[in-house]
């Protein structure tokens, strides 16, 4: 399991630059990110090396922030690797809210961040099926 930091961003010039500058100045490294956008606003989702600190300093900078539990799945870095994981999740009826790729990798595996509806169920299914995922501390250390 891992903590993702989510930040509300208005669709206005300079907002993304501002949030990344605030993180950068605090010495926080962004390891993965995705942006969901609508015509009015965006939601920045990041995995960082120190989520608790990131959460604190973003709030101090008056951003609207939340911490979300996500799961970092190790996906074989070969054709069909992600498809296989997704097929198995489908068989287990695991609903995915969204997913995005991690910038680094873990050994021979690519890393994909999943937000699922029921994270406990996902962990158990992954364990049963031998799908690897990273524990929190391992992820931040990458």
């Amino acid at each position: 399991m891992a903590k993702q930091i989510s930040v509300f961003l208005e669709n206005k010039a300079g907002r993304l630059a501002h949030v990344t500058r605030v993180l950068g100045d605090a010495g926080i490294n962004i390891r993965a990110l995705s942006i969901a956008d609508t015509s009015d606003f965006g939601i920045l989702r990041v995995i960082v090396n120190d989520p608790d600190k990131a959460y604190r300093i973003l709030r101090e900078a008056e951003f609207t922030v939340s911490e979300t539990e996500v799961i970092a799945v190790q996906v074989p870095d070969s054709p069909g690797g992600l498809a296989s994981v997704l097929e198995q999740m489908s068989e287990e009826n695991l609903n995915i809210e969204y997913l995005y790729a991690f910038i680094g990798s873990s050994g021979n595996d690519a890393l994909v961040i999943f937000k699922v509806e029921d994270i406990e169920k996902a962990r158990n299914s992954f364990k049963e099926r031998g799908i690897k995922f990273l524990e929190e501390q391992d992820l931040y250390r990458l």
């Binding site: 609508t38 939601i43 951003f63 922030v65 939340s66 979300t68």
Partner: protein
């Protein structure tokens, strides 16, 4: 020059002011005798009807506000028994109590007379075909214009609002020569004309009488160019009588207030001091002939100036400038009165939504649009777009059902909306008025 009632409209000031004083005293006497709320207010201000001996003495009387109408909902300010009341109109009253106004038979007649003057001033006569596209119903616009149009013997098309294609068809097929509606609706009609390929030159339109919402000189030019007509501004409010309180003449340098029926004052909206002619302030109107609902020093909240120079048209009645704005933060959007406080109470009723908001009014194409910006809070924030959009949709639905108009809700970052330091700015009106 066209007048409906030249004697009244062009009466020299001294006899006009004599009539005003006589009628003012009658109005104050009747209000004091028959309306407990007026008596209470006058007693509290230490003024008796006998103290009113000149037009200057009007200043001794306390003001009446929209709140007084609400406090006495529905009929508490009526000076006649209901058996004498022949008509009731009401504001939409989307939150809180609506304001209710009543008319005696004579009041309805007076109103028709005023609207007759207004229509004739705007170039209408018994040969005109008047298409009345103000809404009929509780709103005073529709029936007010209708009675005046019939009074001058014009042929009236009671089109009411909406169904714009049919409106255009009626204009073409019935040979409409005078159009009465809100100015933004006139432009919308032009848009539909273009869509279906009807040119202004295909129509017999000569003039339009537009009101019920603020509009600029730019908008007047646009309407006049597009529809190839003369556009006249009309002023009125239901609390006073409805449309027809004031109308432009062919010189269109201010709206003549029917001074044989109303007294106009301009006050500083904060100190409530009466201002000199020419100074901008809030228009205050006292009715002189209303039977069912006399209005003493009613604060209209409309900002304007008064000009007592005699108009080249020959009318002696004072002119008010086109309304420049409001002394409260009410905005009129597509004929609907919207107060920021209404938005606030809706937001406060949605769990976890904070009442930090801003109203942005704009005119896109010819239609006024209302955007409500709401600051997001951590309690409603979610990392999922779907959930934020659901929240936006919920706020939209609640606002639309409370305000009665379409609203676009935009979630914005916290602390981006100016915090109130004293009087908060809750409205940005981008319409060029």
């Amino acid at each position: 020059m066209n007048y409906w009632d030249q004697e009244q409209e062009c009466m020299p000031r001294p006899p006009l002011e004599n009539i005003q004083l006589r009628r003012l005293r009658e109005t104050v006497n009747r209000s004091y005798a028959f309306v407990p709320a007026y008596k209470e207010k006058m007693d509290a201000a230490g003024v008796k009807p006998d103290d009113i001996n000149s037009l200057q003495d009007l200043r001794k009387l306390p003001f009446t506000t929209k709140q007084d109408l609400r406090d006495n909902y529905p009929f508490g300010l009526f000076a006649l028994p209901m058996s004498e009341v022949v008509r009731i109109h009401s504001s939409s009253g989307t939150t809180g109590k609506p304001t209710v106004v009543g008319y005696s038979k004579k009041d309805v007649d007076t109103w028709a007379e005023l609207m007759a003057r207004a229509l004739v001033s705007a170039g209408a006569n018994r040969h005109s075909v008047i298409q009345n596209s103000y809404g009929y119903g509780l709103f005073t616009g529709g029936l007010g214009v209708h009675y005046g149009a019939e009074k001058i013997g014009a042929s009236v098309i009671p089109a009411s609002g909406g169904n714009t294609k049919r409106q255009v068809m009626l204009m073409q097929d019935f040979g409409t020569s005078v159009l009465t509606c809100t100015p933004s609706y006139a432009l919308q009609m032009h848009e539909v004309m273009e869509e279906i390929g009807i040119k202004a030159s295909d129509l017999k339109l000569k003039s339009g009488v537009f009101g019920a919402e603020p509009w600029s000189e730019n908008m007047r030019r646009e309407i006049e160019n597009k529809l190839e007509i003369d556009a006249y501004d009309i002023y009125g409010l239901s609390e006073i009588i409805g449309p027809g309180v004031a109308i432009e003449c062919s010189y269109r340098s201010g709206l003549h207030i029917a001074e044989d029926h109303f007294i106009a004052e301009i006050i500083d909206p904060i100190t409530e001091e009466v201002l000199e002619d020419g100074q901008q302030g809030e228009l205050v109107i006292t009715s002189l002939t209303k039977e069912a609902l006399p209005m003493i020093r009613y604060r209209t909240r409309d900002l304007t100036t008064l000009d007592r120079e005699i108009c080249p048209c020959g009318r002696t009645h004072v002119r008010m400038r086109k309304v420049l704005g409001r002394s409260d933060d009410m905005v009129i959007i597509r004929g609907v009165n919207v107060f920021p406080s209404m938005v606030e109470s809706v937001l406060l009723n949605i769990p976890n939504v904070e009442p930090h908001y801003m109203l942005i009014v704009d005119r896109k194409g010819n239609l006024d649009q209302l955007e409500v910006q709401v600051e997001i809070s951590e309690r409603i924030f979610s990392d999922e777009v779907k959930k934020l959009e659901e929240m936006g949709a919920l706020i939209t639905k609640e606002l639309e059902s409370a305000l009665g108009i379409g609203v676009r809700v935009r979630l914005v970052e916290p602390k981006t909306i100016q915090r109130s330091e004293g009087k908060a700015t809750r409205v940005i009106d981008k319409r060029k008025i």
